[in-house]
Amino acid sequence: MNSLDRPSQSSAPAIHTTAIQAEQVCRHYSMGETLIRAVDGVTLTVRAGEFVALLGSSGSGKSSVLNLIAGLDRPTSGSVIVQERDLAQLSREELARYRLHTVGMVFQSFNLIASMTLAENVELPMRFAEVDRGKRDSLAREALMRVGLQARMNHRPSELSGGEQQRAALARALINRPQLLLADEPTGNLDSHTGTEIMNMVREFNQQLGMTVVMVTHERALAERYAQRLIFLADGKLVGDEPNLPAVNVGSHHARPDGERP
């Protein structure tokens, strides 16, 4: 009934399938004469359907890693392979298509377009995907209904609370049914109550739709509560990668009814 219940790929991805494979990824910027190593030789693997948190202080390179996975940026060296495609090898056009169909993104500052209503914001990715005009309306309505914003459809973002905006951003991120949900400090601008609300939704998508979630955060408590795995970054390097058992157990209830655990 709900379109979001029918992701384009199988809703029960095999847990062993690799969703993201980063190999010795570097991202260096030169700022004046100094070279900034935002990401410095990171190697990590995220399995399909996994909920991973990237943790680190500000400037640790966690957002840069997320941008590389999102196809918003290209690595200086190394490779980022998502669903068997090396993002570094894709053309700009192919990267855009990848962002459109494979990735859904939510940001700390929501990043809704201020001049558009919620419905229009949610509809926008479908315009880029050239979805039929007739279908778009009902799909956008369904998506907003799912995040509980059906009454706010025709409001502009400025008329809404932060929590509502982030919910709308979630609806937008999921509208093209991506397999990958990337969240960059999704609760950073929200109070703890609303933050929990949003995180519960993210977990719901992860568990019900089998979406792979990579969340960047600096709040360890939040990560421990929701993520199945915690990856620690410092100075652009990977400094820790550990499973988060409590979340895994909660998650296994839905995502892995067989109880299989690595």
Partner: protein, 470 residues
């Protein structure tokens, strides 16, 4: 992204910064208006010239001249056939040959000369031309006061209106074209006019020949071609008509103000300017004409008849040639007016570039968001193009309306001035439908070109950079 979506988003974005985009669009409108105003002035003047040309009543006539004649009418005429030196002479057999061509009504020699006419003992120097009797059916002589020549040999004259005014001592006031021919005619009709002219006379013929004597033998003519003397003659003419011919219109290559019957004029052997040049030609036993006027059955056949005569080895000139060169002139004029008109549009284009570059700065984040959620470089580029194009089309439509309005105002103003100066009103301004379409499309096109740089810049925007700053 599909076109309807692009258009919708573009219009939405334009509405978002309404003032700035309106100002830019007004800039385009002013540019288009100036272009439309300039071009419609050019077109209007061209139509004015064409209307005048059509009034001349020459559109069923082809004027034929020999290629030996250096004074050709068609300067850029295609030179097919024999070279000027060997080309044929325009004589009586040739005239008959031309007359036998299909679709030709008649071919008559052009006889015209400047001479002195005395009316009530006052001399008047003017151009006299011969008219064939067929001219009676010509539109131009429809409004003649009095009557046409009683016969082709009658010593009668028809006056052009301006000459009639001159004879009556009325100085025509500039622009006051309202003098009625009907008022001019009664005091002149039936009056006598003495024409003094120079007769070309063969040297060995008897000097007792009168002007009306048309028994010139072929032998005389052959001698006349070789050597002749010039004798001063006088001929009394009766004014039978006053014609309302437009003095500015082109009746043949030169304008005449007094007309004689052709038959009479041929017998006069009036010394013509071309006679001196004939001296250098081989003596012929036939009269040689400087030009022959050919009347065609139907104006649409002018071109075919012209081509047939050209094939015979003569130069031709018709209203088609005249309008062709006029059209060429106006094409050049239009280009110049267009360039001047485009200057304002060029300035407007810089306005578009400026507005869109500002929009990129303002909407940097928005572009970043669009890219993050899947917009391709092409989508962003097309969106900016669509915005530029929308401004172009809107500006074009408003501009055409504005240009048309400017034209109307100037037309009105000019005509008020003309009326005060006692000139008849004229229509200088014309905005044809093709110009409306062209102006809007042109505005759309240059707006798109103006959008090239901003759209490219927006498309290249790095989404990470664009999203980094709050």
């Amino acid at each position: 992204m599909k076109l309807p979506d692009l258009t919708e988003l573009a219009l939405r974005n334009l509405r978002e910064s309404l003032l700035r985009n309106s100002l830019t669009t007004i800039g385009i409108s002013v540019g288009v208006a100036s272009l439309v105003a300039m071009l419609s002035l050019g077109i209007g003047l061209q139509q004015l010239a064409s209307r005048r040309l059509m009034k001349s009543g020459l559109f069923d006539t082809v004027v034929v001249t020999s290629r030996r004649d250096l004074r050709n009418f068609g300067r850029d005429e295609e030179r097919s056939g024999p070279a000027p030196a060997e080309s044929r002479i325009l004589d009586e057999p040739t005239r008959l040959e031309i007359e036998r061509l299909p679709n030709v009504l008649e071919a008559y020699p052009d006889i015209r000369f400047i001479t002195e006419l005395r009316y009530e003992d006052k001399p008047h120097l003017t151009m006299v031309a011969a008219l064939p009797s067929s001219a009676q059916s010509n539109d131009a002589f429809e409004t003649v006061q009095g009557h046409f020549f009683s016969s082709d040999m009658a010593p009668e004259a028809i006056l052009q209106k301006a000459f009639a005014e001159e004879l009556l001592g009325k100085t025509p006031r500039p622009g006051l074209d309202e003098t009625n021919v009907a008022e001019l005619a009664p005091p002149l009709l039936g009056k006598e006019l003495t024409m003094r002219y120079a007769q070309r006379e063969a040297q060995q013929t008897a000097p007792s020949k009168t002007a009306n004597d048309n028994s010139t033998s072929p032998a005389d003519q052959s001698l006349a071609g070789a050597a002749y003397s010039v004798v001063s003659r006088e001929l009394k003419l009766k004014i039978v008509g006053v014609a309302d011919l437009d003095p500015e219109s082109m009746r043949g290559p030169t304008r005449a103000r007094v007309f004689l019957p052709l038959g009479l004029a041929e017998t006069l052997h009036v010394m013509q300017p071309t006679d001196l040049r004939e001296l250098s030609r081989a003596a012929s036993d036939q009269p040689v004409y400087s030009s022959v006027s050919v009347r065609v059955k139907n104006p649409s056949q002018v071109l075919t008849v012209e081509n047939a005569i050209k094939k015979m080895g003569f130069n031709t000139f018709s209203i088609l040639d005249a309008s062709r060169s006029i059209q060429q002139f106006f094409k050049v004029l239009d280009v110049f007016l267009g360039i001047f008109g485009s200057l304002a549009l060029a300035v407007a284009c810089i306005g578009i570039v400026n507005t869109l570059v500002m929009a990129i700065l303002e909407r940097r984040r928005e572009i970043g968001i669009m890219k993050a959620i899947g917009a391709s470089d092409g989508d962003v580029k097309k969106l900016f193009f669509a915005e530029a194009g929308a401004m172009g089309i809107l500006g074009g439509i408003v501009g055409v309306a504005l240009g048309w309005a400017i034209g109307q105002v100037i037309n009105l103003g000019t005509n008020v001035y003309l009326k005060r100066q006692s000139f008849p009103p004229e229509h200088f301004w014309a905005v044809p439908w093709w110009l409306v379409g062209f102006a809007i499309l042109f505005s759309f096109g240059v707006s798109l070109i103006s959008g090239l740089y901003p759209a490219g810049r927006a498309a290249r925007l790095d989404p990470v950079q664009a999203l980094r700053y709050e």
